[in-house]
Symmetry: C2
Subunit: 526 residues, 2 copies
């Protein structure tokens, strides 16, 4: 592995102009790791944004196939990182090695998926309306549209996916695929990991002849504000808390030139368990659900934080099973001390709320998170109590019992926007509760049937998004190939000579891509 | 024609709860027309947004073919409006009857274009990744994605297109096509026109069995703020001034749940005239350009407000021709007194600016707008003087002479975002100034060659958008079929039983649409 020096990555060089130093920690012991990172100065933040701006016209003008090679080279570099790297990521995050290896594969596959998207060419959204010189009352000019990257993108990584949602994660992959250079703000929870991954990206950039400044990275607390406000930055990707994401949105909206922020923030991911399923396999559901709640110490955006069922002896039996199972779950080490403090605070708030009963889970103490199970009176949901709308990030979930189908509808209606909603249901349940489906569709980005939301497949059809506060813009996804669209904008050419047109729009269709020509999709040359 | 009663349109009924009355005026004489409109009360604004919210789940669940029938019925109703209607629109806007007739055709064709989009089905963006139960290390679930309307949309119409960018204009058509009910704020400049068009929409809605509340309209000054802040509203379409658009963006961003605003605002639409073209056809260009500047009294978002050429005897001769032509252009009546006052103020500011020379145009007085030609020192552009970045809405344009190709590049680089940029050029010019093209592409939504930007074709390939301040979100267009995408968001189904899937995602592909299945586009059933 390369040596960790803790300097900023700016325009293909390293920079350490400031005096403030930062440390990374062993997540399990709390001990400082033997690395020092320099906080970026204001001038370094500017320089990073400007390096991205200089790279932009060069990078976006490269054929998409060249960008695909770059993404594939990043994937190869990530896969080549050795066991010391895996062990370092584990130390910084307390995530087990097997999880880190799986996440690395997901991250490199994600790069390869975007490379496929670039070769497939549908991201161009090529549309051609040919001239109609004889049209009455007025002739039609020749008009051709495709999509280009919006410009330099600032990316803020997540604590809980040190690889897949971080330095070389989904937002970075989508932005680079779109032709947008990136300035990445390293997450304070895994700066050593970030440095190794940044090195891998830089090696890939050099191997494939990318412009300097195609990828930049800065360290530091509070440097994100200057980054988001820099005039060169044209969009922001963020994964993290509602408070942090909303603050970035507000800054971006207040700029002289407002820019879009794609923030993936807070979701409690309701799971609705319907009667027939409960009757047939209540025990199994309780066991699967408990496993989903504590998976990865509950540190997933899609952790099931709310479980709703209709009052019945079967639901009471299910509740009893879940209480037993959750009481047995061991404490786990969280990503960092801040995460644990925040979980402890969230659990305390639930414990202190009248109308919420604590059903299972040891007293929260020490350096590990105790799994917790609560039960809330449905009136809290119906009355819009904010405690039931806010994610408690960690291994906790809240049961809600409703009286009947009408109250179930009301409870779901009262929810804010979510990344996911899950129906645990048999065929008869779905027939009887058919009206739930359109309601859930309005509330969420992904509706699951008889599964658990904690797995998020990286593919073309995934939506990891949803109405506010799940994300700041429901029209995007931060997982899956559609994520590229957040960083593209359409441009139209009118009566442009063929030789000057970008390749996707030329008559000969040299890229062989599908295009909408005079209202019909075709790969034919014109 | 139906009688004008001046009441709000809320949930399929009329409402006049308030006491404040408004009048519409004859744009040429300034006389009040014999109609009274009631300003919407706060409660009426709420009721209109809530009527749209009630209509939303019903409307969005209709097959796209039903929405297509609705749009076509609106088109037919618009085309059936009689000569009295044309004459009324003319009175309210001072636009000639032939222009109104042309604009009506454009408006009804726009509705029909969106109906085609709905039948074509690509707006669904259907994507299917089938389950891979044998995949290692983990099986893949079945994932299917399509797009749904975001919810009720507030639309603010433009003064300068009383039909095509107003009540039944592009934003309304795109929102309705997307499955989003609309609350339209009638423009104060043509309230009688708005009422007749709203009646046409309501007749079409009744004919085609649309839910009440699919289209609502309110009158009044200052009622827009309450509308944008209403929790039921999920997106905003706006065409108008930078000040007005930005105010709406700021309000929308400050909501508890921020929502997107698609505001089409300010553009000066630079026209670059290159040497060989100037040499070959300078006189013709001067004549075409003068015609474009004064067309419709310059009241177009795409009016060419900045003309740039390289210093040469040919450019001096062109300037002299343009001076002569602009001096001959007659004064014209503007859309309303507010527009004239704003034009007068803009012209005065240009006249008062050191470094800007007045080349042609009579003293601005009386009730008509005098066409004006100015010449600005390039230093003003290079130094970022705001006067050269802001649209003066009306028949005025500013010439800028640059020393050479490098200064041309610098001048264009200094421009903010634009709807359009135009190159008037011969083949040799384009070869010699090839570096202009990528620069212009970064600045604008549409690049024109040897044309004038004032015509905006309604088609699949059009982009009427561009970087700020041309619009508030460069990722959209407010003209052309791509406009529907502003009001759609993706939703994903995981392991959903086939019978419960929305039609676009069912195995049998009952709609016969193109879908991305396991990474390849196909219309086949699965």
């Amino acid at each position: 592995m390369s040596e960790i020096i803790g300097h900023q990555y700016i325009g293909g060089a390293r920079s350490a102009a400031g005096d403030i130093t930062l440390r990374s920690f062993d997540a399990s012991t709390g001990d400082a790791l033997p690395y020092t990172f320099r906080q970026a100065t204001g001038a370094e933040v500017d320089a990073a944004a400007e390096a991205a701006a200089v790279a932009y016209p060069i990078f976006r003008a490269l054929p998409a196939s060249r960008r695909a090679e770059f993404l594939e080279a990043i994937a190869t570099q990530l896969e080549a990182l050795d066991a010391d790297f895996i062990s370092l990521v584990s130390r910084e995050t307390a995530l087990p090695a097997a999880r880190i290896q799986g996440e690395r594969l997901r991250t490199s596959n994600q790069m390869r998926l975007f490379a496929q998207v670039l070769r497939r060419g549908d991201f161009y959204g090529a549309r051609i309306d040919r001239a109609l010189p004889e049209r009455q009352p007025l002739p039609r000019v020749d008009l051709r549209q495709y999509r280009i990257g919006v410009g330099p993108v600032a990316v803020f990584g997540a604590s809980n996916f040190p690889l897949a949602f971080s330095t070389a994660g989904g937002d970075t992959a989508a932005a680079l695929a779109a032709g947008c250079p990136v300035v990445f703000k390293a997450h304070s929870g895994h700066m050593a990991t970030a440095e190794h991954v940044a090195d891998a990206i830089i090696r890939a950039a050099e191997q494939t002849g990318m412009p300097k400044g195609v990828f930049n990275m800065i360290y530091g607390a509070g440097v994100g504000e200057a980054l988001v406000k820099h005039p060169a930055i044209q969009a922001v990707g963020f994964t993290g808390s509602l408070k942090g994401g909303r603050a970035l949105c507000d800054m971006a909206a207040a700029r002289a030139q407002p820019i879009p922020v794609f923030a993936e923030m807070s979701s409690i991911n309701p799971v609705v368990i319907l009667p027939e399923a409960l009757h047939l396999r209540g025990e199994k559901i309780a066991s699967e659900l408990a496993a989903s709640v504590v998976l990865g110490c509950g540190q997933f955006c899609t952790n099931p934080g709310l479980v709703i069922g209709i009052r019945s002896p079967a639901f009471s039996a299910f509740t009893a099973s879940l209480v037993g199972l959750m009481a047995e779950q061991p404490a786990q080490t969280m990503l960092n001390r801040g995460t644990l403090a925040s979980y402890t605070k969230g659990v305390q708030a639930l414990r202190a709320q009248p109308g919420i009963e604590h059903l299972a889970g040891g007293e929260q103490h020490g350096s590990q998170a105790q799994p917790q199970l609560f039960k809330a009176d449905v009136s809290l949901l119906l009355d819009g109590n904010p405690l039931l709308q806010e994610e408690v990030f960690g291994p906790a979930t809240v049961l809600v019992e409703v009286a009947d189908a009408a109250e179930l509808q009301g409870a779901l209606h009262s929810l804010h926007g979510q990344l996911t909603a899950t129906l645990i249901a048999e065929a008869g349940d779905l027939q009887q509760h058919a009206s739930l489906l359109p309601l859930l569709e309005q509330k969420v980005g992904r509706v699951l049937f008889n599964g658990y939301p904690t797995g998020v497949e990286v593919c073309d059809a995934m939506v990891h998004g949803g109405p506010y506060p799940a994300t700041s813009d429901a029209r995007g996804t931060s997982v899956g190939s559609l994520a590229i669209e957040r960083f593209l904008r359409p441009v139209c050419y009118q009566n442009c000579p063929d030789a000057l047109l970008p390749e996707p729009l030329q008559n000969a269709n040299p890229l062989g891509i599908a295009r909408l020509v005079d209202g019909a999709s075709t790969r034919d040359a014109l």
